[in-house]
Symmetry: C2
Subunit: 574 residues, 2 copies
């Protein structure tokens, strides 16, 4: 491809609305353009990257026996009512009506459609397992679309659904997909980590893993073990309770004045006790239930654990100040577990019962209790793992210290169980002629998101640094002059030669200064740049530059094509 004929509008300025680096660079490098908030057009180079990721995903799905189908984006409301999701899915579901006033949605996911398909076609256990997938647009009416392709309203996903006879079959399909996902992100040339994750709102019986592309800018926090292969979403990671060395109090609890003190920080300072000696008391409302939650003062409550442990509320939030006043007669900053109403459930993180001499709120303004002993001085109805893990803690599996990293979620594998097959009646006859529900799994890769994540992970101050397997083109040839006939002719010859060798190459034939061409080449992020200058060429040499390392080498012109071909081949094998 000749750059002069390519729609690749590069920009020097950072677009004002682009908050994250991948969004900035995708716009600046001319890969995408915005059509409306959260809706983008992929320009030719952006689309090439997308297609490469799609191809890798497709090959790995096929290798595991996945069969590709293509389901409608518009989905009838009836199916969503059958599964029970029409009413609970909320504002993120794009809904519309046809001319006959029938309701539809734009699919954010396809469990209903695929289960409807399969229930019509599956009869016997002999047809299972069945793995069906598609690569297609998905829709989500984000409250605030942002970060370019990272959180758009229209995005491209691969979604595979597995149908098995039983849990053992599901486990096998799950493992296949887990392995395939590892291969996908490795083949894309990305540094990633599968982490144990929370099942969240999709529901389902079993485990789930998220695949995180590691990047400092990632919005997810993950912990991983420095000693073994344990890794988890920080919100999911189980914690080992750690007791603090502390002496039991000599006498009864004391009510002490703490004028104006309302936070853990100020309390620790005011009383000159470490945060580990404080009990953080939080009144929560989950749907129509109210309960008091306790964690140690130095810890962070993990709301996801709290919600999972208490059975999964649709809405879980801190009680309003008015509600706190009504229940406990004080402000939120004064809440404590002593002498709470009999009907109020008190749940505590596992570390709270291990405290020997605690300080807590007294449910009255400007006072706290000291020398408080859990159980002796207050009731705990349920002890649970409710806190966020912290880097440096011991791995639950092997005891080695955990480390923390930031990541971008690009894939998730999920054991659904029989939630959808039961709701929609996707049954089969087993070996004994008994009708049973298919056991399902679902497995998603954010294809357009992977493109953004790849940039978040691979960039520098000059632009994108594409991993070879997903680069829009592998090589750019830059003649530094459009007037030196030898330069122009040699550039063209190399261009032809590399194409013949099957290398994906663009030739920057524009009538621009060399500096402009270099800047654009770096910005777009072609892995290899071949530069032809009058002087070096007079010596029979051209310059070869690796985008990633920045290293340059002078190469004899006759060796160039072969050497480039080898570099590409090597980089694709990694």
């Amino acid at each position: 491809m000749l750059v002069s004929q390519l729609l690749n509008p590069t920009l020097r300025e950072v677009p004002a609305e682009a908050e994250v680096i991948s969004h900035q660079l995708m716009v600046r490098a001319g890969l995408i353009r915005k059509s409306a908030s959260g809706l983008y057009t992929f320009l030719p180079l952006g689309l090439r990257v997308l297609r490469k990721i799609e191809t890798i995903v497709r090959e790995e799905m096929d290798a595991k026996g996945g069969q590709e189908v293509l389901m409608p984006i518009m989905q009838p409301a009836e199916l969503w009512k059958e599964s029970g999701r029409w009413d609970v899915y909320g504002a993120e579901l794009f809904r519309l009506k046809d001319r006959h006033n029938r309701e539809f949605c734009l699919g954010p996911t396809h469990e209903e459609i695929i289960t409807d398909l399969v229930r019509g076609e599956i009869r016997s256990y002999k047809q299972l397992p069945m793995l069906l997938y598609q690569i297609q647009n998905k829709y989500r009416d984000e409250r605030r679309p942002r970060f370019g392709l990272m959180r758009g309203r229209e995005f491209i996903m691969k979604d595979l659904y597995s149908f098995d006879r039983d849990e053992a079959g599901l486990h096998e399909s799950y493992q296949k997909m887990y392995d395939a996902y590892c291969r996908i992100f490795a083949r894309c040339g990305l540094s990633f980590r599968p982490v144990e994750a929370d099942a969240g709102a999709i529901g389902g019986t079993g485990g789930t893993h998220e695949f995180m592309v590691l990047a400092d800018s990632g919005e997810n926090s993950v912990v991983y073990c420095s000693g073994c292969d344990y890794a988890a979403n920080t919100e999911k990671s189980e914690c080992r309770p750690q007791a603090v060395e502390d002496e039991s109090p000599q006498g009864q609890r004391k009510l002490v004045p703490t004028p104006g003190v309302k936070t853990i920080e100020s309390l620790s300072e005011f009383l000159a006790v470490p945060k580990t000696a404080l009990v953080k008391s939080l009144l929560y409302q989950g749907d129509d239930k109210i309960f008091l939650v306790l964690v140690r003062g130095d810890r962070t409550l993990n709301e996801i654990k709290l919600n999972n442990a208490l059975g999964g509320f649709v809405s879980l939030q801190l009680a309003s100040p008015e509600l706190v006043k009504e229940i406990l007669g004080c402000e939120p900053g004064s809440v404590g577990p002593v002498d709470t109403p009999a009907g109020l459930m008190v749940v505590a993180d596992e570390e709270v019962p291990l405290m020997k001499r605690a300080v807590c709120g007294a449910n009255q303004a400007d006072h706290h209790y000291t020398d408080v002993v859990p159980s002796r001085d207050f009731r705990i109805d349920q002890v649970l793992d409710l806190r966020m893990v912290e880097p440096g803690e011991a791995c639950l599996k092997c005891g080695a210290p955990l480390k923390e990293a930031r990541g971008i979620e690009v894939g998730q594998v999920f054991k659904l169980g029989t939630k959808y097959s039961k709701a929609l009646g996707a049954n089969f006859l087993d070996e004994n002629g008994v009708e049973r529900s298919c056991v399902m799994g679902c497995y998603g890769v954010g294809v357009s998101r992977t493109m953004a994540a790849a940039i978040e992970q691979n960039n520098d101050e000059f632009g994108i640094i594409w991993p070879m397997p997903i680069a829009p083109y592998q090589v750019i040839i830059v003649p530094t002059s459009n007037k030196d006939a030898l330069v122009v002719e040699t550039a063209d010859k190399l261009y032809q030669e590399l194409q013949r060798l099957g290398v994906e190459v663009v030739l920057d034939d524009r009538d621009e200064r060399a500096g402009v061409k270099f800047k654009d080449a770096d910005l777009v992020g072609y892995p290899i740049r071949v530069t032809l200058g009058s002087k070096t060429l007079a010596n029979g040499q051209v310059e070869l530059k690796e985008r990633k390392s920045g290293e340059t080498h002078l190469i004899n012109i006759e060796d160039l094509s072969h050497q480039v071909k080898e570099m590409v081949k090597k980089a694709l094998k990694c």
Copy 2:
């Protein structure tokens, strides 16, 4: 691919709701399944056909310098308001609102989005011509979705948009696309015809051609010349007026009683005059204009010509009986051109003034005028070509007789001119630094529709007969026994061998009777079937059957793979 592992649910019965053969066969052959009215899932074999058509389209677009992009399906209302189409597009546009109550539509076409993109990126004439295309879902809220993929609500199209400096450039781009389309449908192995067509509602300055796949079941009628390359949509085809040999009347027109006579047929019979002697008079309402339309009694009025000739009404229809009564004082069956109100415009087909002695309605019940002479007895305000062409008429270009055929529209090329570039301000600076509007063209291929049209054209009582280039697989191997070890092993060996040779092959390894496998193979329509039976195999032979011709040959086992490979190669070259 092993058939046992393929989701390819075939049906023996014709699905009740499928009215056309392509819909019936696509469901029966397990290529698609309905998710909702006008919304389909492509199953694995159907998707393979689709992808093959897409690949052919993509290659031909790229060969003409087209650059592939991917635009959003969801389009903001603002852009459609800018182009003026938001209010006029009507009920076929799927509209929806986001959570912030902003309006969007699901794109039935992408002129607005692409023009918005280009206006942001184009500065200079040096960047033109620019040809941008995508292959993507389109949406149309059909009043009555039917015929499977022929008239769905969600369908796949390739749409290319050309941007040129001037009309000459547009003409060149148009010709490129015309040529590319000819190659596309030829490469798909289809019998087709490009025909001159009506510009219709898209608007635009220039010509347009439709590409018709010829099939007796086609919903479009086309005429083509037996002598030259002229071909046109029947509705578009210009007519040469033909005079009827007739004598002028001796005296004045006569009012004759015609009790109960209200149609051309009954009038011709009652008065014993040929239909060529009758004037058909029709009162029409175009938006808020009313006019009388005259064509010869043996001809059919062409409403599209009428509408184009009179300037393009949003709504054009026969006047209601009430309106006829109000304007002419009679029923619609008695309408005639004599003594009409002075303000009523009378438009006549070119053949009407050539009539010498005509019969027409008298604007009163149960009477007609005979011996009427146009101009002498009634006024004609405008003479126009207003009738439908008929097979057998002389070609306007060469005089040879026209023939008629039926076709399915699968593509259209269209000169848009500056309609959208002016509305949205897609301008560039020409050689003299003068700002000018891009001159645009748009070019669509119905990708999923082409799949349906291919089946309409290529089928028999046993099923689909795929042209080799778009067959889901090229070859099916059918072992007639799953018990004869030699049959099973040889089938597997051939399967491996053909795969190694790059032939797309499935092996029907199911534990089914040979008859069932044969029926399915014919139904799905694999171009080549290789059958392995115990008896023939004992003689070292297998049977090779061509789906299209139905011819079978016994081939020595050692020649089979090579011969199949050659057959495939030959069929792909056609």
